[in-house]
Protein backbone atom coordinates (compact mmCIF):
# COMPACT_ATOMS: atom_id res chain seq x y z
CA UNK A 1 0.00 0.00 0.00
CA UNK A 2 2.67 2.42 1.09
CA UNK A 3 4.67 1.65 -1.99
CA UNK A 4 1.86 2.38 -4.39
CA UNK A 5 1.11 5.66 -2.63
CA UNK A 6 4.72 6.64 -2.99
CA UNK A 7 4.68 5.77 -6.64
CA UNK A 8 1.50 7.76 -7.10
CA UNK A 9 3.09 10.78 -5.43
CA UNK A 10 6.16 10.64 -7.61
CA UNK A 11 3.96 10.22 -10.63
CA UNK A 12 1.91 13.28 -9.84
CA UNK A 13 5.10 15.23 -9.19
CA UNK A 14 6.43 14.04 -12.47
CA UNK A 15 3.28 15.18 -14.26
CA UNK A 16 3.42 18.55 -12.59
CA UNK A 17 7.04 18.89 -13.52
CA UNK A 18 6.31 17.96 -17.10
CA UNK A 19 3.63 20.59 -17.31
CA UNK A 20 5.91 23.30 -15.94
CA UNK A 21 8.78 22.16 -18.09
CA UNK A 22 6.65 21.99 -21.23
CA UNK A 23 7.72 23.81 -24.36
CA UNK A 24 4.92 26.36 -24.03
CA UNK A 25 6.26 27.65 -20.75
CA UNK A 26 9.62 29.15 -21.54
CA UNK A 27 11.26 32.13 -19.93
CA UNK A 28 13.74 34.46 -21.54
CA UNK A 29 17.09 34.76 -19.85
CA UNK A 30 20.06 37.06 -20.19
CA UNK A 31 23.45 36.12 -18.73
CA UNK A 32 25.86 39.02 -18.46
CA UNK A 33 29.32 39.60 -17.01
CA UNK A 34 31.60 42.68 -17.12
CA UNK A 35 33.27 41.23 -20.20
CA UNK A 36 30.02 41.15 -22.09
CA UNK A 37 26.91 39.08 -22.67
CA UNK A 38 27.57 35.39 -22.21
CA UNK A 39 24.37 33.82 -23.42
CA UNK A 40 20.83 34.91 -24.06
CA UNK A 41 17.80 32.93 -25.05
CA UNK A 42 14.85 30.90 -23.90
CA UNK A 43 14.91 28.41 -21.07
CA UNK A 44 12.62 26.26 -19.00
CA UNK A 45 14.44 26.25 -15.73
CA UNK A 46 17.30 28.00 -13.99
CA UNK A 47 19.04 26.79 -10.86
CA UNK A 48 21.45 29.26 -9.29
CA UNK A 49 23.56 29.36 -6.12
CA UNK A 50 21.85 32.13 -4.15
CA UNK A 51 23.37 33.38 -0.91
CA UNK A 52 20.98 31.23 1.15
CA UNK A 53 21.40 28.06 -0.82
CA UNK A 54 20.22 27.10 -4.24
CA UNK A 55 17.32 28.84 -5.90
CA UNK A 56 15.34 27.17 -8.66
CA UNK A 57 13.28 29.23 -11.04
CA UNK A 58 10.46 27.87 -13.14
CA UNK A 59 7.80 29.52 -15.28
CA UNK A 60 5.67 32.14 -13.47
CA UNK A 61 8.09 32.65 -10.63
CA UNK A 62 7.40 35.71 -8.51
CA UNK A 63 9.66 38.75 -9.12
CA UNK A 64 12.76 38.20 -7.06
CA UNK A 65 16.13 39.85 -6.63
CA UNK A 66 18.83 37.84 -4.92
CA UNK A 67 22.58 37.81 -4.47
CA UNK A 68 24.57 34.86 -5.70
CA UNK A 69 27.68 33.28 -4.26
CA UNK A 70 30.38 31.37 -6.09
CA UNK A 71 29.06 28.19 -7.65
CA UNK A 72 27.40 26.86 -10.74
CA UNK A 73 24.34 28.14 -12.57
CA UNK A 74 22.42 25.50 -14.46
CA UNK A 75 20.11 26.61 -17.23
CA UNK A 76 17.77 24.07 -18.79
CA UNK A 77 17.06 25.04 -22.36
CA UNK A 78 14.84 22.94 -24.63
CA UNK A 79 16.69 19.68 -24.10
CA UNK A 80 20.18 20.47 -23.03
CA UNK A 81 21.47 21.93 -19.79
CA UNK A 82 23.99 24.74 -19.91
CA UNK A 83 26.28 24.92 -16.90
CA UNK A 84 28.10 28.12 -16.06
CA UNK A 85 30.61 28.58 -13.27
CA UNK A 86 30.47 31.95 -11.55
CA UNK A 87 32.36 33.65 -8.73
CA UNK A 88 29.39 35.67 -7.51
CA UNK A 89 26.83 38.15 -8.67
CA UNK A 90 23.09 38.59 -8.49
CA UNK A 91 19.98 37.41 -10.20
CA UNK A 92 16.65 39.03 -10.93
CA UNK A 93 13.41 37.49 -12.11
CA UNK A 94 10.55 39.58 -13.39
CA UNK A 95 7.57 38.45 -15.48
CA UNK A 96 9.40 35.42 -16.82
CA UNK A 97 12.50 37.37 -17.68
CA UNK A 98 15.60 36.25 -15.85
CA UNK A 99 18.70 38.41 -15.65
CA UNK A 100 21.82 36.80 -14.27
CA UNK A 101 24.68 39.19 -13.52
CA UNK A 102 27.99 37.52 -12.69
CA UNK A 103 31.32 39.07 -11.73
CA UNK A 104 33.12 36.39 -13.65
CA UNK A 105 31.62 33.55 -15.60
CA UNK A 106 32.71 30.63 -17.70
CA UNK A 107 30.58 28.11 -19.53
CA UNK A 108 31.41 24.51 -18.59
CA UNK A 109 32.14 22.55 -21.72
Amino acid sequence: MVDSKDIKLTNSNQNNNDKVLSDNHTMSFDFVSPKGRLIKGQCKQVIAPSVDGEIGILYDHEPVLTGMKAGQVRITKKEDVVKVNITGGFLSVDSNEITIVADWAEIVK
Partner: protein, 315 residues
Protein backbone atom coordinates in the same frame (compact mmCIF):
# COMPACT_ATOMS: atom_id res chain seq x y z
CA UNK B 1 70.28 80.64 -46.77
CA UNK B 2 71.08 77.26 -45.12
CA UNK B 3 73.29 74.94 -47.07
CA UNK B 4 71.93 72.11 -49.18
CA UNK B 5 73.32 69.56 -46.77
CA UNK B 6 71.43 71.00 -43.79
CA UNK B 7 68.22 71.15 -45.77
CA UNK B 8 68.56 67.57 -46.97
CA UNK B 9 69.13 66.38 -43.43
CA UNK B 10 66.02 68.18 -42.27
CA UNK B 11 64.01 66.70 -45.11
CA UNK B 12 65.03 63.15 -44.28
CA UNK B 13 64.35 63.59 -40.55
CA UNK B 14 60.91 65.10 -41.27
CA UNK B 15 60.15 62.21 -43.60
CA UNK B 16 61.01 59.61 -40.96
CA UNK B 17 58.95 61.48 -38.35
CA UNK B 18 56.05 61.59 -40.76
CA UNK B 19 56.22 57.82 -41.07
CA UNK B 20 55.89 57.53 -37.29
CA UNK B 21 52.91 59.90 -37.25
CA UNK B 22 51.24 58.00 -40.01
CA UNK B 23 51.76 54.66 -38.28
CA UNK B 24 50.44 56.06 -34.98
CA UNK B 25 47.39 57.42 -36.73
CA UNK B 26 46.63 54.07 -38.32
CA UNK B 27 47.19 52.22 -35.05
CA UNK B 28 44.83 54.48 -33.12
CA UNK B 29 42.26 54.25 -35.90
CA UNK B 30 42.18 50.49 -35.47
CA UNK B 31 42.22 50.77 -31.65
CA UNK B 32 39.14 52.97 -31.69
CA UNK B 33 37.02 50.23 -33.14
CA UNK B 34 38.43 47.89 -30.52
CA UNK B 35 37.67 50.33 -27.71
CA UNK B 36 34.15 50.77 -29.07
CA UNK B 37 33.78 47.01 -29.16
CA UNK B 38 34.72 46.79 -25.47
CA UNK B 39 32.30 49.60 -24.62
CA UNK B 40 29.58 47.80 -26.51
CA UNK B 41 30.33 44.57 -24.65
CA UNK B 42 30.06 46.30 -21.29
CA UNK B 43 26.61 47.66 -22.13
CA UNK B 44 24.43 44.67 -21.13
CA UNK B 45 26.19 44.39 -17.76
CA UNK B 46 25.77 48.09 -17.01
CA UNK B 47 22.14 47.98 -18.12
CA UNK B 48 21.31 44.97 -15.96
CA UNK B 49 22.89 46.54 -12.88
CA UNK B 50 21.19 49.89 -13.41
CA UNK B 51 17.86 48.15 -13.76
CA UNK B 52 18.42 46.26 -10.52
CA UNK B 53 19.55 49.38 -8.65
CA UNK B 54 16.47 51.20 -9.86
CA UNK B 55 14.27 48.33 -8.75
CA UNK B 56 15.70 48.39 -5.24
CA UNK B 57 15.57 52.17 -5.04
CA UNK B 58 11.95 52.21 -6.15
CA UNK B 59 10.84 49.47 -3.90
CA UNK B 60 12.64 49.64 -0.64
CA UNK B 61 13.31 52.63 1.51
CA UNK B 62 16.56 51.16 2.60
CA UNK B 63 19.49 53.22 3.71
CA UNK B 64 22.82 51.90 2.63
CA UNK B 65 26.22 53.19 3.61
CA UNK B 66 27.14 53.78 -0.04
CA UNK B 67 24.10 56.02 -0.56
CA UNK B 68 24.36 57.89 2.71
CA UNK B 69 24.54 61.56 1.78
CA UNK B 70 24.31 62.89 5.30
CA UNK B 71 27.91 62.26 6.14
CA UNK B 72 30.01 65.38 6.55
CA UNK B 73 32.70 65.30 3.91
CA UNK B 74 36.10 65.87 5.48
CA UNK B 75 38.26 63.93 3.06
CA UNK B 76 37.81 63.40 -0.65
CA UNK B 77 39.32 60.87 -2.98
CA UNK B 78 39.99 62.16 -6.48
CA UNK B 79 40.39 59.55 -9.18
CA UNK B 80 42.13 60.94 -12.25
CA UNK B 81 41.82 58.86 -15.39
CA UNK B 82 44.43 59.81 -17.99
CA UNK B 83 46.52 58.03 -20.60
CA UNK B 84 49.66 55.91 -20.37
CA UNK B 85 51.36 57.34 -23.43
CA UNK B 86 51.79 60.70 -25.03
CA UNK B 87 51.25 61.56 -28.69
CA UNK B 88 47.63 62.29 -27.98
CA UNK B 89 47.63 66.07 -28.16
CA UNK B 90 46.17 67.88 -25.20
CA UNK B 91 44.27 64.84 -23.89
CA UNK B 92 46.19 64.24 -20.66
CA UNK B 93 47.04 67.87 -19.99
CA UNK B 94 43.40 68.95 -20.20
CA UNK B 95 42.39 66.25 -17.74
CA UNK B 96 45.20 67.17 -15.35
CA UNK B 97 44.19 70.82 -15.63
CA UNK B 98 40.61 69.93 -14.73
CA UNK B 99 41.80 67.72 -11.86
CA UNK B 100 43.93 70.53 -10.46
CA UNK B 101 40.98 72.93 -10.59
CA UNK B 102 38.88 70.40 -8.65
CA UNK B 103 41.63 69.76 -6.13
CA UNK B 104 42.08 73.50 -5.56
CA UNK B 105 38.32 73.87 -5.05
CA UNK B 106 38.21 71.02 -2.55
CA UNK B 107 41.21 72.39 -0.69
CA UNK B 108 39.45 75.72 -0.42
CA UNK B 109 36.67 73.90 1.39
CA UNK B 110 39.44 72.62 3.68
CA UNK B 111 38.96 69.02 2.65
CA UNK B 112 41.77 66.53 2.69
CA UNK B 113 42.63 65.16 -0.71
CA UNK B 114 43.62 61.61 -1.56
CA UNK B 115 44.86 61.15 -5.06
CA UNK B 116 44.17 58.02 -7.12
CA UNK B 117 45.49 57.88 -10.63
CA UNK B 118 45.07 55.71 -13.71
CA UNK B 119 47.60 56.31 -16.47
CA UNK B 120 51.36 56.72 -16.53
CA UNK B 121 51.35 60.28 -17.89
CA UNK B 122 49.39 61.67 -14.96
CA UNK B 123 51.45 59.62 -12.50
CA UNK B 124 54.70 61.14 -13.77
CA UNK B 125 53.14 64.62 -13.74
CA UNK B 126 52.29 64.41 -10.03
CA UNK B 127 55.44 62.53 -9.08
CA UNK B 128 57.59 65.21 -10.71
CA UNK B 129 55.82 67.84 -8.62
CA UNK B 130 56.25 65.82 -5.43
CA UNK B 131 52.52 65.48 -4.88
CA UNK B 132 51.62 62.38 -2.89
CA UNK B 133 49.72 59.78 -4.86
CA UNK B 134 47.79 57.33 -2.70
CA UNK B 135 47.51 54.64 -5.30
CA UNK B 136 48.02 54.40 -9.02
CA UNK B 137 47.39 51.98 -11.84
CA UNK B 138 49.29 52.02 -15.11
CA UNK B 139 49.10 50.05 -18.32
CA UNK B 140 46.18 49.30 -20.62
CA UNK B 141 44.79 52.81 -20.51
CA UNK B 142 43.64 52.41 -24.12
CA UNK B 143 42.09 48.98 -23.51
CA UNK B 144 41.00 48.76 -19.87
CA UNK B 145 40.01 45.33 -18.60
CA UNK B 146 37.16 44.40 -16.29
CA UNK B 147 39.76 43.32 -13.73
CA UNK B 148 41.29 46.79 -13.72
CA UNK B 149 37.95 48.47 -13.01
CA UNK B 150 37.40 45.89 -10.27
CA UNK B 151 40.75 46.76 -8.65
CA UNK B 152 40.05 50.50 -8.82
CA UNK B 153 36.52 50.26 -7.49
CA UNK B 154 37.56 47.87 -4.71
CA UNK B 155 40.21 50.33 -3.55
CA UNK B 156 37.84 53.28 -3.64
CA UNK B 157 34.89 51.53 -2.02
CA UNK B 158 37.15 50.25 0.72
CA UNK B 159 38.41 53.77 1.42
CA UNK B 160 34.85 55.08 1.40
CA UNK B 161 33.67 52.42 3.84
CA UNK B 162 36.59 53.20 6.14
CA UNK B 163 35.37 56.86 6.47
CA UNK B 164 37.64 59.81 7.11
CA UNK B 165 38.02 58.94 10.79
CA UNK B 166 40.08 55.90 9.85
CA UNK B 167 42.20 57.46 7.12
CA UNK B 168 39.48 56.78 4.57
CA UNK B 169 37.37 59.24 2.61
CA UNK B 170 33.82 60.60 2.69
CA UNK B 171 33.34 61.20 -0.98
CA UNK B 172 34.81 60.05 -4.24
CA UNK B 173 35.19 62.23 -7.31
CA UNK B 174 36.28 61.04 -10.73
CA UNK B 175 37.97 63.27 -13.28
CA UNK B 176 37.83 61.58 -16.65
CA UNK B 177 37.01 62.32 -20.23
CA UNK B 178 33.69 62.62 -21.97
CA UNK B 179 33.25 61.40 -25.51
CA UNK B 180 31.03 63.76 -27.45
CA UNK B 181 32.09 62.77 -30.94
CA UNK B 182 35.24 61.83 -32.82
CA UNK B 183 36.38 65.45 -32.85
CA UNK B 184 35.26 66.70 -29.47
CA UNK B 185 36.22 65.10 -26.16
CA UNK B 186 36.24 67.13 -23.01
CA UNK B 187 37.17 66.48 -19.40
CA UNK B 188 34.35 65.89 -16.99
CA UNK B 189 33.94 65.53 -13.26
CA UNK B 190 31.66 62.93 -11.72
CA UNK B 191 30.74 62.56 -8.08
CA UNK B 192 30.84 58.80 -7.66
CA UNK B 193 30.29 58.23 -3.95
CA UNK B 194 28.08 58.58 -2.02
CA UNK B 195 25.74 57.30 -4.69
CA UNK B 196 22.76 59.37 -5.67
CA UNK B 197 19.94 56.91 -6.11
CA UNK B 198 17.08 58.61 -7.85
CA UNK B 199 13.80 56.86 -7.23
CA UNK B 200 11.57 58.52 -9.80
CA UNK B 201 12.40 55.95 -12.42
CA UNK B 202 14.81 58.18 -14.27
CA UNK B 203 18.26 56.91 -14.94
CA UNK B 204 20.53 57.43 -11.93
CA UNK B 205 23.34 59.57 -13.31
CA UNK B 206 22.51 58.51 -16.85
CA UNK B 207 24.43 55.30 -16.60
CA UNK B 208 24.71 53.51 -19.87
CA UNK B 209 23.79 56.54 -21.90
CA UNK B 210 27.34 57.64 -22.47
CA UNK B 211 28.30 54.04 -23.13
CA UNK B 212 25.61 53.92 -25.74
CA UNK B 213 27.02 57.07 -27.22
CA UNK B 214 30.47 55.54 -27.33
CA UNK B 215 29.25 52.27 -28.72
CA UNK B 216 26.96 54.14 -31.12
CA UNK B 217 23.96 52.15 -30.09
CA UNK B 218 20.60 53.76 -29.83
CA UNK B 219 18.91 52.22 -26.87
CA UNK B 220 15.18 52.45 -27.14
CA UNK B 221 14.16 54.20 -23.97
CA UNK B 222 11.86 51.51 -22.74
CA UNK B 223 13.26 51.30 -19.26
CA UNK B 224 11.92 54.66 -18.20
CA UNK B 225 8.32 53.88 -18.94
CA UNK B 226 8.40 50.35 -17.57
CA UNK B 227 6.70 49.91 -14.28
CA UNK B 228 8.99 48.36 -11.75
CA UNK B 229 7.58 45.14 -10.31
CA UNK B 230 7.40 44.44 -6.60
CA UNK B 231 10.45 42.35 -6.07
CA UNK B 232 10.94 39.82 -3.38
CA UNK B 233 14.41 40.35 -1.95
CA UNK B 234 16.36 37.35 -0.86
CA UNK B 235 17.47 37.15 1.87
CA UNK B 236 16.72 40.84 2.56
CA UNK B 237 16.72 44.16 0.76
CA UNK B 238 19.85 45.19 2.68
CA UNK B 239 21.71 42.07 1.63
CA UNK B 240 20.69 42.57 -1.99
CA UNK B 241 21.88 46.17 -1.85
CA UNK B 242 25.14 44.94 -0.38
CA UNK B 243 25.51 42.71 -3.39
CA UNK B 244 24.42 45.20 -6.03
CA UNK B 245 25.81 48.60 -5.05
CA UNK B 246 29.54 47.73 -5.11
CA UNK B 247 28.96 46.20 -8.54
CA UNK B 248 27.17 49.36 -9.61
CA UNK B 249 30.21 51.39 -8.56
CA UNK B 250 32.45 48.98 -10.45
CA UNK B 251 30.37 49.18 -13.59
CA UNK B 252 30.36 53.00 -13.40
CA UNK B 253 34.14 53.05 -13.04
CA UNK B 254 34.46 50.60 -15.90
CA UNK B 255 32.27 52.89 -17.95
CA UNK B 256 34.56 55.84 -17.16
CA UNK B 257 37.67 53.82 -18.03
CA UNK B 258 36.20 52.61 -21.30
CA UNK B 259 34.97 56.02 -22.32
CA UNK B 260 38.33 57.55 -21.47
CA UNK B 261 40.03 54.88 -23.57
CA UNK B 262 37.89 55.81 -26.55
CA UNK B 263 38.64 59.50 -25.95
CA UNK B 264 42.35 58.80 -25.70
CA UNK B 265 42.53 56.92 -28.98
CA UNK B 266 40.29 59.44 -30.75
CA UNK B 267 42.45 62.27 -29.47
CA UNK B 268 45.60 60.45 -30.53
CA UNK B 269 44.26 59.76 -33.97
CA UNK B 270 43.29 63.39 -34.43
CA UNK B 271 46.58 64.83 -33.20
CA UNK B 272 48.59 62.36 -35.26
CA UNK B 273 46.57 63.34 -38.31
CA UNK B 274 47.38 67.00 -37.66
CA UNK B 275 51.05 66.16 -37.12
CA UNK B 276 51.07 64.29 -40.42
CA UNK B 277 49.55 67.28 -42.22
CA UNK B 278 52.08 69.61 -40.62
CA UNK B 279 54.93 67.34 -41.65
CA UNK B 280 53.61 67.47 -45.22
CA UNK B 281 53.56 71.28 -45.21
CA UNK B 282 57.04 71.38 -43.73
CA UNK B 283 58.36 68.93 -46.32
CA UNK B 284 56.91 70.96 -49.15
CA UNK B 285 58.60 74.10 -47.84
CA UNK B 286 61.91 72.36 -47.20
CA UNK B 287 62.01 70.71 -50.61
CA UNK B 288 61.31 74.05 -52.27
CA UNK B 289 64.13 75.68 -50.31
CA UNK B 290 66.48 72.80 -51.06
CA UNK B 291 65.74 73.13 -54.78
CA UNK B 292 66.28 76.87 -54.54
CA UNK B 293 69.63 76.34 -52.83
CA UNK B 294 70.66 73.80 -55.44
CA UNK B 295 69.67 76.14 -58.27
CA UNK B 296 71.50 79.04 -56.62
CA UNK B 297 74.64 76.91 -56.37
CA UNK B 298 74.39 75.95 -60.06
CA UNK B 299 73.84 79.58 -61.10
CA UNK B 300 76.76 80.60 -58.98
CA UNK B 301 79.00 77.98 -60.56
CA UNK B 302 77.89 78.91 -64.08
CA UNK B 303 78.54 82.59 -63.57
CA UNK B 304 81.96 81.73 -62.19
CA UNK B 305 82.75 79.67 -65.29
CA UNK B 306 81.42 82.35 -67.64
CA UNK B 307 83.34 85.04 -65.80
CA UNK B 308 86.50 82.89 -65.96
CA UNK B 309 86.08 82.31 -69.71
CA UNK B 310 85.47 86.02 -70.32
CA UNK B 311 88.60 86.90 -68.37
CA UNK B 312 90.65 84.45 -70.47
CA UNK B 313 89.25 85.88 -73.74
CA UNK B 314 89.94 89.43 -72.66
CA UNK B 315 93.43 88.54 -71.58
Amino acid sequence: MPSQLVLRKRISSTQSLQKIFKAQELISASRISKARFYAQNAMPYADAITKAVRAVANHAKVEHILTNNNRKALATAVLVIASDRGMSGSYTSSIIKQANIQIAKLKQQSKKIQLYICGQRAVSYYKFRNITIDQFWTGHSDAPTAERSQEVSDALVQKFLATSKNSGVDEVIIVCSEFINMVIQRPRVIRMLPLMVVDNGSDPDELGESLAKVAKITTTASTNTESVPLYEFEPSAEAVLDAILPRYVQSRIQECLLESAVCETASRQRSMHTANDNANDLLEDLIRRANQARQAAITNELSEIVAGAAALQNG
